[in-house]
Amino acid sequence: MSKDTTTISKSFFPPFGYAAKELVTALVQTFLSPFGIVAGIIVVLGLVLTVLRFTGGLATVTNLSDYNAWGIWIGFDLLTGVALAAGGFVTSAAVYIFGMKRYHFAVRPALLTGFLGYSLVVLALHYDVGRPWRLPYPFIIRQGTTSVLFEVGACVALYLTVLFVEFFPAALEWLGLKKVRGLIIKLTLLLTIFGVILSTLHQSSLGALFLIAPSKLHPLWYSSYLPVFFFISSIFAGFSMVIFESTLSHRYFAHKMDETHLKGREDVALGFGKAASFVLAGYFTIKIVGIAAGNNWYLLGTSYGFWFLVELLGFVALPCFLYAVGVRDRNLKLIKWAAVWTVLGVVLNRLNVSLIAFNWHLPSADRYFPHWMEIALSIFIVTIGIIAFRVIATIMPVFYEHSDYKDLH
């Protein structure tokens, strides 16, 4: 194979033939592994359900109703997906803006998961909205600028582009296109700042989506601070996802990692764990301020109040504490579990706001519970993400520095 490379790279064109071959090999290898077989089954099932969705409509595959217009494809795939894909912007901001260069090696995996995360959010939306080919309409046909959803859509579309450009150098290194890569690397700071602005806007406006419905969302979750809550929680969601993914990557991609990456794991866990603990503490405080601002203390004694406390104490205060202890004792295992717990807490929060505490005033017969096919399609979309991550991390320099580009950044 090395012979092929040299002959091709000597020619005028970059080695796309070789790249295509590598891509196909990686795909085949992915699907031939034990993981690949399970993933393959999920993908086949997902494709069947896709056909059902686009022939029978949402009524065939979901439990959505006129009372419950949004289900888990919005509550989980969109709201949670975007929050958990925040690792890209927090890591690149930490490294390129705050100058924490020792985490530099963690940027690429974080950008890749961010990019895939947002891509999957957009893919999931194609299932959820009625006429997916009209998704560009808000930008090209008629702009509904009074809608928070317009802001979300514009920022997500732009940020997906930014993430693509930010991660693109990895693909260019793989393809051997040095000049273009150099050009994009020069834009790093600009892209990072742009990414932070866009993330601030859409992470917060996902919370702001629900400001329109004070009569439907339980007062403990409804707050004029919702945008702030969503933004702040996306920061610790990002930190925790980076820690969580780094644990997984070190288990499954250790053979792909260079020295810096293998050695840096502890650094990232300790640094990001500490940061997450601080942000969680801040979030806990502003959540309390939120209760005080709405003067909703009396509601804490109700059953929804109990559930609210489960979220706030069990999934915010507890992981904050676990992170702090883990960092103090340099206990990587504890930090890892704190990260998993925090991620679950963010999932719980987004489901609470969009589904569990939403429409709380309705009788139970009118409430929503997802259809198994909705859950299956969500799993299908997550699976596509994992497959894409595996393939890209196999063929592109994600966990190591490409030998031709060392010290070039």
Binding site: D66, W70, G99, Q143, T146, S147, A208, L211
Partner: protein
């Protein structure tokens, strides 16, 4: 075009007058939006409603909706609470008040046609329009099908064609906008046999409602539902029982829906304006820190090097000195030895 002094002063004067009068006039009016003047509405008097479902039939007919599950003269459907759906823009429900000693009350439900509709404010393709007739109408030709309008509507009115795979629409009452612009009555109003529904200018309807309440204070609750709810609606209700007994929410408040998200949207320019400055500042600070750290490091290294060099030189000279002393002693010893040897040989030769 040459600008003469006179012309210039004229412009300034005009601008000044415009600014003064324009602004003061603007400032003088209450900025509170009260809906299009002269817009229409419907008053539903639940005291007069007998629950005959004729309005449902009329609506179905003029809007060419599919035939109902149960025929419109079948009143057994009133046993269960129903809501609007894709096949019915309006439904009548019965509410029993045996506890209050009164008979049942019927209430028709449909789009309330808010003066500042939540559905229109949240639609990112502006598929909803509040028309000058008062009707809130929907344009399916741009609708993406995100269903945010259904999330936003405080009255839970918009419905969605979940069973259509590729062309689902939002379905809701249009206040018969196409008929109203032709000078006809809405289908439901036309079909009502008991004048429980009155169509007219919204301002007139409020006066009529007030008049009825004033004339029959024992029959009506002293409230016109929709006059202020959610900033006011074109559809108004008066009732003999508290509205919450008719499944109508009394906790909606008087804030028009767009105001609920205005603050969050107003934060966008703040973020866009502040973040780049702050972030570039943070970047500059971290760069500067780095540079200072590097300079300090270099300085320290240089200092250490000088110190080491001085120390080394001192050591060297000391060593040299030592070596010299050693050498001298060695030479002296050697000379001494040689001299001794010479002396020895001389004595030997002498002897």
């Amino acid at each position: 075009m040459p600008i003469s002094r006179r012309r210039f002063l004229g412009w300034i004067g005009a601008a000044g007058v415009g600014a003064t009068f324009g602004n003061s006039a603007h400032a003088a009016v209450n900025k509170h939006y009260k809906g299009y003047p002269e817009s229409f509405g419907v008053l539903h008097d639940t005291v007069l409603c007998v629950g005959c479902r004729n309005c449902e039939a009329g609506c179905n007919k003029v809007n060419e909706l599919p035939p109902p599950a149960a025929p419109f003269d079948d009143l057994s459907v009133l046993e269960h609470k129903r809501r609007t759906d894709t096949k019915s823009y309006t439904v009548v429900n019965r509410y029993d008040h045996a506890a209050n000693g009164g008979g049942p009350t019927y209430r028709k439900t449909q789009c309330h046609h808010c003066l500042e509709p939540a559905c229109a404010s949240v639609c990112f393709v502006r598929a909803f329009t509040k028309t000058k007739t008062g009707a809130v109408v929907y344009d399916a030709s741009v609708c993406v099908g995100c269903r945010y309008c259904m999330i936003a509507c405080p009255f839970e009115i918009p419905t969605y064609e979940y069973d259509k795979a590729l062309s689902p629409r939002i379905m809701k009452c249009t206040m018969c906008h196409p008929r109203v612009v032709k000078g006809k009555l809405p289908g439901c109003v036309e079909a009502c046999p008991n004048e429980a529904l009155t169509f007219g200018k919204r301002n007139d309807l409020i006066n009529i409602a007030r008049e009825r309440i004033r004339r029959y204070p024992d029959r009506y609750v002293n409230h016109v539902y929709g006059e202020h709810e959610m900033g006011g609606t074109s559809w108004l209700n008066i009732s003999g029982v508290p509205f919450k007994h008719l499944g109508m929410r009394e906790d909606l408040g008087v804030t028009p829906a767009p105001e609920l998200t205005a603050g969050a949207l107003g934060a966008v320019p703040i973020v866009v304006g502040l973040w780049p400055v702050l972030l570039t500042g943070i970047y500059a600070i971290s760069k500067r820190k780095e540079r200072i750290a590097r300079a300090e490091q270099e300085q320290a290294v240089a200092a250490a090097l000088t110190q080491a060099r001085e120390k080394g030189e001192a050591k060297l000279s000391e060593a040299l000195e030592k070596a010299e002393v050693k050498n001298r002693t060695a030479i002296e010893a050697a000379v001494k030895k040689a001299l001794e040897k010479v002396a020895e040989t001389q004595t030997k030769e002498g002897s």
